[in-house]
């Protein structure tokens, strides 16, 4: 059965004609998997006016791309995207399909795998090939990050998984690299799209792009109030950093959810992550342990955040941060 299925696909999610980063990120580990297996890596791009995304996907490592364009794909809908992807999979029979674990990817993925009666592994953070079975070994955190599980789909094809944004880094963009772009004419009738997007409401003044931030200054319960975040922001502004926070802060209403880092928020992998007044619950650590350098400021010497920190200060953040700002300015002056 499985011989008929070949090649690795990465679904490169688009919206309003633009690609989400995660699709390009996933081409990087997928390239390695394809080289190990000696098969092709194909990007699948569905959207409106997205030929440039297919070209970029090739420059980020895909051998070729499959392109589906139409007005119905300008904004995400479960019905249109699942229908198109299922049709493509049934036609081309890829062995593996990798999807970014965005809200849309996690909405569409199970719909597609279920229709095809195959396995889907959710929200993976590592990918490999099991040398014994040749299957993809999908590794993912469970129990709120307390346990890692490696999952395989031995009998059904394609084997499918969603993979977290910001876990893998994009490969270097190879300017001028070309590959075949195959157009597929798939259209979904308006009445077959059963959900409607009425309005897109922006609640955050500036877009929060934690996934791509080089430096994140993050505040937790220890910040104490909305006003307390002025101190966090001051440090962030000085360092050109993005402000993040823990779940407790969002629950308390001090910051909007868009800033939340952790299991139920964003997974981030900045160069520097500064955790201020964050105890370091495993759900939070699961979202930021990929940072190159972790710095913790916490008044509780026993706080678990210090276990994962490369640098830490035991002290009150409202004393330490202003002092740090002063000391840093002096050094840089």
């Amino acid at each position: 059965m499985s011989e008929a299925y070949q090649n690795i696909w990465v679904f490169v999610e688009t919206e309003c004609g633009k690609a989400k980063n995660v699709g390009f990120e996933l081409l990087n580990p997928a390239r390695e998997l394809a080289d190990k297996k000696g098969c092709k890596l194909i990007a699948v791009v569905i959207g409106k006016d997205v030929e440039h995304v297919a070209k970029d996907a090739i420059c980020y490592g895909a051998d070729s791309a499959i392109l589906v364009e139409g007005d119905e794909y300008e904004y995400y809908s479960t019905d249109a995207f699942a229908t198109a992807l299922v049709e493509l999979i049934q036609k081309y029979k890829p062995e593996t399909v990798i999807i970014g674990a965005t809200n849309n990817g996690r909405d569409m993925g199970p719909r597609v795998s279920c229709r095809l009666k195959t396995g889907l592994t959710a929200d993976c953070t590592a990918l490999d090939i099991d040398e014994e079975t040749g299957c993809i070994a999908w590794t993912r955190p469970t129990f709120g990050g307390n346990l890692m599980a490696t999952i395989e789909c031995p009998e059904c094809r394609p084997q499918m998984g969603t993979v977290r944004p910001a876990v893998f880094k994009k490969a270097t963009y190879q300017e001028g690299k070309t590959g075949e772009i195959v157009r597929e004419d798939i259209h979904v009738a308006a009445d077959a799209i059963r959900t409607k997007l009425l309005e897109r409401v922006k609640e955050v003044a500036e877009a929060v792009n934690l996934e791509e931030a080089d430096i994140i200054v993050s505040g937790g319960r220890g910040v104490g109030s909305v006003e307390g975040f002025a101190t966090i922001r001051e440090l962030a502004d000085l360092l050109g950093a993005t402000v993040g926070c823990s779940r407790a802060v969002v629950d308390a209403g001090w910051m909007p959810h868009a800033h939340q880092v952790g299991q139920s928020g964003k997974t981030v992998a900045p160069k520097v992550y500064i955790a201020c007044g964050i105890s370091g619950a495993i759900q939070h650590v699961a979202g930021m342990s990929g940072a190159d350098t972790i710095i913790a400021i916490n008044k509780d010497e026993e706080a678990p955040i210090f276990e994962v920190a490369d640098y830490g200060i035991v002290g009150n953040l409202f004393d330490v941060i202003p002092a740090f700002i002063e000391a840093y300015k002096k050094i840089k002056a």
């Binding site: 890692m148 599980a149 059963r194 959900t195 309005e199 520097v272 920190a309 330490v320 002092a323």
Partner: protein, 266 residues
């Protein structure tokens, strides 16, 4: 409005411990709770019922003890509860679980004498964290789905949700019947009262077995699960970092600033 809420009993992941030798969950002493996202789904269902009338039924798949989770649901606004349980169902992945639940939905509809207009699920369970059972259930039932709802209302056979986005939300609608997965609500789920707990205790919770569902058991449990857990391990997090303690804030901060700039980290 006939509303079905799917709930799961989970270990409280804030308190779980993993045995470092066996890489399995230490269950002893760990409290079981209703999956927190499901409590929002239930609260949403109960609020809709209170606004426009109807009935809220809860269903859970799990071992016998999962009846405790259903009792909790009955004490905070659910009108009836069903437990889907049986050895055939153990070890199910999301495809098998959603298949079993879709069969349970049909069986419960027969027992209740009316189809469900709205099926609510939490966005994901905090033990497995897959977020797949809701959409897969919708697929098995052939229903439209809206996921990641932060708020929802029902009017004239249409459900409207605020769908969580990076920088705000999408206002989305679909016609009923539909499956909605819930992240959160503007209000916290209600607490039970002593009286509601007593009343919940007295309510029977019918158990639906494989036989009751007349289900194809080859599509249930380990047999019916395309994904298999190959191995598990405990992530190691210990780092030997530099920790500055017992110094006045300005000295500690100056030391850290020097360390970070010398190492060219900042």
């Amino acid at each position: 409005m006939n509303i079905l809420v799917c709930v799961k009993q989970v270990p409280d992941t804030n308190e779980i411990k993993i045995d470092p030798e066996t890489h399995t969950l230490v269950r002893a002493g760990v409290p079981s709770i209703v999956n927190p996202f499901d409590t929002y789904a239930l609260e949403a269902g109960v609020q809709i019922k209170e606004a426009i009338g109807g009935k809220v039924v809860v269903v859970s798949m799990g071992p016998e003890q999962a009846a405790d989770a259903l009792k909790t649901c009955l004490s905070v606004g659910a009108d009836a509860a069903y437990l889907v349980s049986g050895r055939e169902f153990g070890g199910s992945d999301t495809l098998a679980t959603s298949f079993i639940l879709s069969n349970a939905v049909k069986t419960i509809e027969e027992k209740e004498g009316a189809p469900f207009d709205l099926i609510l699920c939490g966005k994901q369970a905090v033990d497995g964290d897959t977020a797949q059972v809701g959409p897969e259930l919708a697929e098995h039932l052939g229903l439209p789905q809206l996921t990641y709802a932060m708020d929802l209302t029902v009017e004239d056979g249409v459900v409207k949700i605020k769908r969580e986005c990076d920088d705000g939300y999408d206002l989305m609608t679909t016609n009923l019947p539909a499956v909605i997965t819930v992240v959160k609500l503007p209000t916290e789920p209600r607490y039970p009262t002593i009286r509601s707990k007593m009343a919940a205790k007295k309510k029977p919770i019918p158990v639906l077995t494989a036989e009751d569902l007349a289900i194809d058991v080859s599509r249930c449990g380990l047999k019916g699960s395309p994904t298999k857990v190959k191995s598990t391990y405990t992530p190691s997090r210990e780092k030997s970092g530099v920790k500055i303690a017992g110094l006045p804030a300005d000295e500690a901060a100056a030391q850290l600033a020097t360390l970070l700039t010398d190492a060219k980290i900042l």
